[in-house]
Symmetry: C3
Subunit: 162 residues, 3 copies
């Protein structure tokens, strides 16, 4: 096994829950800080982490509008996977993290970019959920499909589905 | 690292949600199409993806009957992991996918079989949930336990738990 | 690839659901029984699996007390990820498993310890959820962060996020 291979990590970020998104970015930035090449492949609900928080005027059909309205826009609106209670749980967790000076999700996303973590947004999921490139934050490295993820994963040592 | 190892992928399909089942089969068929040997190990709720859609007359105890009735029978009845709203969300998502000509889950399952993806059904989970071999679709390659999965995983490069 | 590497497995146990905890420990004990070196990294809700079932008198602030009360204390109190119905589902599943002589979660945890599976509790999650070392069962090998997990994972062949 080459040295390079040991130093490559990929994450499929399927979940759009705050707690799992935090876990994804803590792993990604941790690995990148240790010198790993890291690729995050955002698919399905995970795309919501990358949405801009303001509404972006794009043409959508009825279904796409509904998905767009019902899904959270960006890291500040995400719920948690357990004990969310209509958003109360997420608020509590964010308050606790702030009180304890833990890096926030928006900060982790910035750190990941600064550390050259590669962001791939799943083209098919964007199509299904009616999310356009304009609605996602800047700095996405690629809009691609599963083949793109798989070629990265086959070169990596640690591959996780979150 | 041998070439062979780079070309082996395993998936533990634990979830029985439509969205995660789709993700599993998109990864599996994608990897198989790229020439990987792919093994899917279906366990717990993931077994519901492999259930035949019609009721199969098998002898069950009270608990097994209850589990059997409450769990979805096959890909058409699965819910989605978020915004399911009693099945409405799953219907919406299937409609959107159909409108956009995205391969359906039943089609992906057929594709996986055609591409020689290996299906293993977890024997212990079948026992717990009271699911018999007759209730599962044809073409399951093996009914086995975790040891069988682990020996495949230790030969594979990409291993995911979904 | 060295023989050693093929024989190392790591699991991130993020979920605190009974069914996923069972899956984690079945994989961990199965791999350890096959001679693998196994590391389990317990983070977020997964920490609840390691909580002692009785209340431990520790000083906590208001938020930490709330989290402490709302989260399950140890394996006997965990819910299942689907069809839990306020704990009924978990009870049913435990009854079925008992009737079928399937190893229980507390037994699996003991087995894992006996097989020298390494338990790491995520320090940051403990901090966020206000869980102290005294509240966790004996036999935790390490209290550490993501860097500790990542160095194990980069040496392992099979790495799963559960």
């Amino acid at each position: 096994m080459s040295e390079e291979k040991q130093n490559k990590t990929t994450l499929i970020v399927f979940s759009g829950d705050l707690d799992k998104a935090m876990a994804s970015f803590i792993i990604a930035t941790g690995a990148a800080a240790m010198g790993h090449q890291v690729t995050m492949f955002f698919t399905f609900w995970g795309l919501n982490i990358l949405r801009k928080d303001q509404q972006v005027p794009v043409k959508k059909n009825f279904m796409e509008k509904m998905f767009g309205k019902m899904m959270p826009r960006g890291p500040e609106q995400l719920g948690i996977s357990k004990m969310n209670f209509g958003g109360m749980g997420a608020k509590m967790m964010k308050k606790v993290m702030k009180d304890k000076n833990i890096t926030t999700l928006p900060q982790l996303i910035e750190m990941a970019k600064d550390l050259d973590v590669k962001f791939i947004a799943c083209q098919m999921s964007m199509d299904v959920l009616g999310i356009t490139e304009d609605e996602l934050i800047d700095g996405i490295d690629d809009f691609a499909g599963v083949a793109s993820y798989l070629s990265e994963a086959s070169e990596a040592n640690t591959n996780l589905f979150i």
